[in-house]
Symmetry: C2
Subunit: 333 residues, 2 copies
Amino acid sequence: MRKEVIKFKNPPSIISSASVVGRREHEGPFGNKFDIYDEKDSFGMPTWEQSEGEMQRQALNLALSKASLKPCDIDAIFAGDLINQCTSSSYGLLDFDIPYFGLYGACSTCAESLLLSAMAVSSGSFEHCAAVTSSHNCSAERQFRFPLEYGSQRTPTSQWTATASGAFIVSSEGKGPHIVEAMGGISTDMGIKDANNMGAAMAPAAISTLSRYFTATDTKPTDYDKIITGDLGFEGYGIVIDIMGKQGYDMRPVYTDCGLVIYDRQAQDMHAGGSGCGCSAALMASHFLDEIRKGIINDVLFIGTGALLSQMSVQQGLSIPGVAHLVRIKGEL
Amino acid sequence: MRKEVIKFKNPPSIISSASVVGRREHEGPFGNKFDIYDEKDSFGMPTWEQSEGEMQRQALNLALSKASLKPCDIDAIFAGDLINQCTSSSYGLLDFDIPYFGLYGACSTCAESLLLSAMAVSSGSFEHCAAVTSSHNCSAERQFRFPLEYGSQRTPTSQWTATASGAFIVSSEGKGPHIVEAMGGISTDMGIKDANNMGAAMAPAAISTLSRYFTATDTKPTDYDKIITGDLGFEGYGIVIDIMGKQGYDMRPVYTDCGLVIYDRQAQDMHAGGSGCGCSAALMASHFLDEIRKGIINDVLFIGTGALLSQMSVQQGLSIPGVAHLVRIKGEL
């Protein structure tokens, strides 16, 4: 039988992190926590895909600087994004000349990259890994739904793909925050076919991973200081509280979601909240890791949530599977 | 400074493998080595993307059967394909209920998935991992170039995306073949812009990885029984022999390429050969691993080669980076 939970013997450290965001994310409640932003969302590049790649480049560059490391010190990059063939990662990170492992976990990619970096480092194979992720509203919307120029009306359950990137340096030594445990997500498909309701498509995957984790570790939500899902937004957040409650787990005292909090619901009107792999990556790389570093919170579950749809799978009438990877991060061991 | 070569302390075993191919691959020189084929290339599914997913499902199913394992014995799947958002993997492997890590390494994905499976198993985190990859001519051609219905003329350097899938079970115990070493590829872009010349776009990445590996290990090509690249085809194969020769490495005595050999050049006229992540996955999972199991060859370098283009990056006029991951496989330690 499968080992459900990965317990890292020598818990790797996240020795540095950096975040890069666009205008709307900068105008949101956590605006001043992000390291870099561009008022025009273009980051000086001629296409949105290249803008997104440039965000990854800037995020990794800054994370390296903060850790006083050079590209040649990094054993491997684990990176991905939402764009077809992970174009933003491939091109954005090309100039670093670091061994490159491309990932596709949709919006769960930040957690997937942290999990695999931690595994690679704790195995002794590598000393320093970089985990890098991004999303960009303009590149994602035209790929998955409509080009922005159409000005399509958005449904109430739709989320706003965040223009955001986060980079993390995961190392075998360092004072923390530490990645102490992890759990890979099992893809879960509950028959949701609405590509404008990602929260409902991804919530079952988050519920699956959380239930498996609590059962395997014999713990409950309030054993942790905070439980953070990636980008379920208002729809998915409510579903998680509801269904987990029915399973006997009261999530409410400790539960938050990056998509829920990245924008100001009153002032910014982003409908069901934020989404995209950059949403959780930027918030984890800034606000939440800062809180752990400062000791405000110490024991955190981060569950990246991804919807494994493609434009073609939607056009072919298939329902949307979700996947949710978990990493447990502790400030002090 | 970076550790170039990963040396696995307890070399994981590839305890079973399975291959699934389409009609043209079955008609090729290795046709009777593949486990499963479908004369219609559709595998009973209504769309090409679902046909490709079904190939992955059948490949993993058979690999599990050969190893007498059940899905619940597998700790994680590392899988990917060429289709946008890795649709074939996400949907094809959904029903197994195994933790799922999506990868995007273009045609290098087979080597990437073997490398990460080996790392995960040798780290002690997992006992059994599955590495699964596929490509399908019909889904790939309409996505990257032209829909088949156009009947476009193909250029002499173009390769035929193989309709093929391979699955491997990588385990902490077993009698081999063993994955003893690995090296992550550094993305390499030499300015090739022709989306119909994948061999030229990927060859520099293979050359980069081979040079780094020979330098780091102080070895030369003839120290190995066979060196197998993924899908460089006739163009890329020639470039590798040429440039490696100029660097002082005579590849000719031991070098082959899956894209070069999967079709019969005279009888099948596939232009520059085969390509796609399934090309190397199916040949490694059948013919080459069989040769290692039988002791015909014992010490093999397998270098998966991927071109990190997307339809959009080509349309935007960008050149095509390549990446090449290496795994060293030995029959007896």
